[in-house]
Structures are given as structure tokens and as C-alpha cells.
Symmetry: C2
């Protein structure tokens, strides 16, 4: 798959309810490699997108009559969720940049598991984002996250899978300089960007960064 692997992106589309398919579709680029995790196929069909790969146990839906380019059928009894199985298959195929859609809302168990999946990708040094109608999120293991076009937007940071994280912020209303945030007192919530460029340095993570639209 060559050079495409280095620059391209793998979108894994889960089965969570999508209220605004046009908004979700706007996140997808022409050259994304699209994996549907089980019921995520329904969302792809609503968006008029033909996935490159369908993976799932099909315990909650029939296998589609009109199949995508390729289908992998998983056993119903397995350790991984369909979303995680899709991510692992994407990694096996050489992708290093991931966007999860259809990953939040409805079933909270799946939402939390999908945030854990971001962490799973982060620990392997992979670009990981999740997006829904109102939010984008990524886990940063360690290093610098630069975000542009941010002025006025809400930015939240939480320790993830750890009791605390050590952070510096630039470009936010409440800046931090090598300060610790603890999970039990979520004081990194709903900060606001005061410049176009926001720089979040995670000295010690993992940190979950959430960009939310205002109501």
C-alpha cells in the first residue's frame, strides 16, 4: 500500500447513533480508507458512502445483501468490541492515522470503550481523533498538540487512565505551566482559546483533549 500508508488516514465508523449524518460526513475526506465496524454500515449507507472494509460479528444486524469491497466476519464471543477490532485491522493493514466516527452517544459503555481505544492508539504513537456532532477528542500520551483556528473555542483536558497528568498550555484563557491536573477534580474542563493557535504540552500523560461546540 506504499506511500499512502504514511500520509493517509483510516476512518473507523461505529454503530453509535448519528443524528446529523451530513455533519459527520463532512469529516470524511475523499482519500480516507473507511472501515465500518458492524452497525456502522447503516450510517455509511445513510451518508451514501461505500466502505472499503466491513468488520463485525453481525450480532445486531444482518450481513448486508450489497456488500462493501471486503468483509471480515468475527465470532460473536470475543474480547474486543467491533470498533476495537476495526482499529486493530486498520493497524495491521499499515494505517497510522485514525479518525473514529459513530463512536459516542447512546450506549455509554461503547462511548467509554472508544475513548479507551484512542488511548490504545496514542500509546502506539498513532494519530487518534474521535468526532461527533458537537465534539472532537484525542488522547495525547506525551508531547505537543498544536491546534489551529481555535480562537474562542472551548478546550478541555483530563487525565485519562491515570490519576493525574502534567501539562503546559499556551493560547488558552487559563494557561498552565508544568502543572498537574488530577482526575478527581476536573479543573481542566471548558477552558477557552484566546488565540488562533493553541499549544498543549503533555509532559506526563495520558491526557484526553476534548474540543466541544457550545450549546
Amino acid at each position: 500500500m506504499g506511500a499512502q500508508e504514511l500520509t493517509g488516514r483510516c476512518v473507523v465508523l461505529g454503530a453509535a447513533p448519528v443524528l446529523m449524518p451530513d455533519k459527520i460526513k463532512s469529516y470524511i475526506r475523499q482519500d480516507d480508507y473507511i472501515i465500518c465496524a458492524d452497525g456502522g454500515l447503516r450510517t455509511a449507507q445513510r451518508m451514501g458512502i461505500r466502505p472499503d472494509l466491513l468488520i463485525g460479528d453481525f450480532d445486531s444486524m444482518e450481513q448486508p445483501a450489497c456488500r462493501p469491497a471486503e468483509t471480515i466476519t468475527l465470532p460473536v464471543c470475543k474480547d474486543d468490541t467491533d470498533m476495537m477490532a476495526g482499529i486493530k485491522e486498520g493497524i495491521t493493514r499499515g494505517w497510522k492515522r485514525f479518525l473514529l466516527l459513530g463512536a459516542t452517544g447512546g450506549r455509554m459503555d461503547h462511548t467509554i470503550a472508544n475513548l479507551c481505544a484512542l488511548d490504545f492508539l496514542a500509546r502506539q504513537g498513532m494519530e487518534n481523533w474521535l468526532a461527533d456532532e458537537s465534539n472532537r477528542a484525542t488522547v495525547v500520551q506525551q508531547g505537543i498538540l498544536e491546534l489551529r483556528g481555535m480562537n474562542g473555542r472551548l478546550v478541555s483536558v483530563f487525565p485519562f487512565g491515570a490519576p493525574s497528568c502534567l501539562l503546559s498550555y499556551e493560547g488558552l484563557q487559563y494557561p498552565l505551566c508544568k502543572e498537574s491536573l488530577v482526575s478527581v477534580e476536573p479543573r481542566g474542563v471548558s477552558n477557552r482559546a484566546v488565540s488562533d493557535l493553541v499549544r498543549i504540552t503533555v509532559h506526563q500523560g495520558p491526557a484526553l483533549v476534548v474540543l466541544s461546540d457550545e450549546n
Copy 2:
């Protein structure tokens, strides 16, 4: 406030979107003490409930013309979310059992912060639950959580604010006996109750327990 404090429950109602107010109202008992956190008042009004206390900075809504029994106005610039301020005020007033409603959905930053708030309560030995249209969740610091009327229901467990937790389960399809779950591989997701009584023992936490309705 005497004996009521020991047996009663404090409901903190947040501003997250409530799609099915009748379902949310069904969680509330006649003798609950109800705190509305800022925009949570709108949900209370939709449910026809007059709160005992309204607390907030009112940055996203006007102070209501028809006020609840009591109102506390917070500064707009503060470390705590309105939900956390409501919880802390409830603790100050002596409550030890909490249910958070209007706490999930829409703004993911608030959803995550509200899960952290469950942990905040758990660490003080307090009963803590959060509920929405499809899910109930609680954080267990250490000890035994017994759940009844569970047969066939989905039960998920995740480490929370920690890289791992040590668990035993009884009454679930995939039982555990003093086994470790790690945050980065969410294998505690979507287990299923096979008996009416489910017993989750958290030997080392915190653990987030999520009960989800099926789609």
C-alpha cells in the same frame, strides 16, 4: 436536617440535553432533595419539578423570574463546573447519597467532568449514581457493589482515573476472580448478567460501572 440526611438522596440536575423528560423524571423520588445546576432548571421546569436549590453562574441562562426555594449565584470565573458546585453544596448540607441527572450527552467535556464527579463522591465514601435515557453509572473506589433485577442486562466495568483495577464478578456471563482490567484494553465492556443478582467486588479501584440498555 437530622435523620433525613442519613437515608435521603440528593439529586443534582445538570444542563445536558434531556430528550426524554418523562424517563428522567421517573428516576426522581418524592422525597429527593433536588439541586438544579444552572441550566438544569430548564429541565426541571419541563418535568414540572420545583427544585429545592438553584446554583449557578447563570452565564448561559437568565436567572428565572419564578425562583426555586433558594438560589446561590456563583462567580462566572471559577474552578468548578456548576454541576460540581452543586455536588459540593449538597455535601456541605449533609447529603451522602447522590444521583446526577442531565449529566451526559451534548457537550463531551461536561460528560467526562461528570464521570470525574462520581469519582469525587466515591472517594468520600458516598453513594454516587448518574443516569440518562439509556445508561446508569457509578464509580466504586473499593468494596462490593450488589445489583438486583439484572438478569439479561448489560454490565460494563472500566478502570477510572487509574491505569488498571482489580476485580471479581459474580452473576455475569464472563466472570472474573481477582483479575486485573487495564484501561487501554477495555475488555470489561458489555458483559451480560446471567442471574438476577450481580456482585462486583472492586479489590483495587476506582472502577466505573456502566449499566446500558441495548439499542
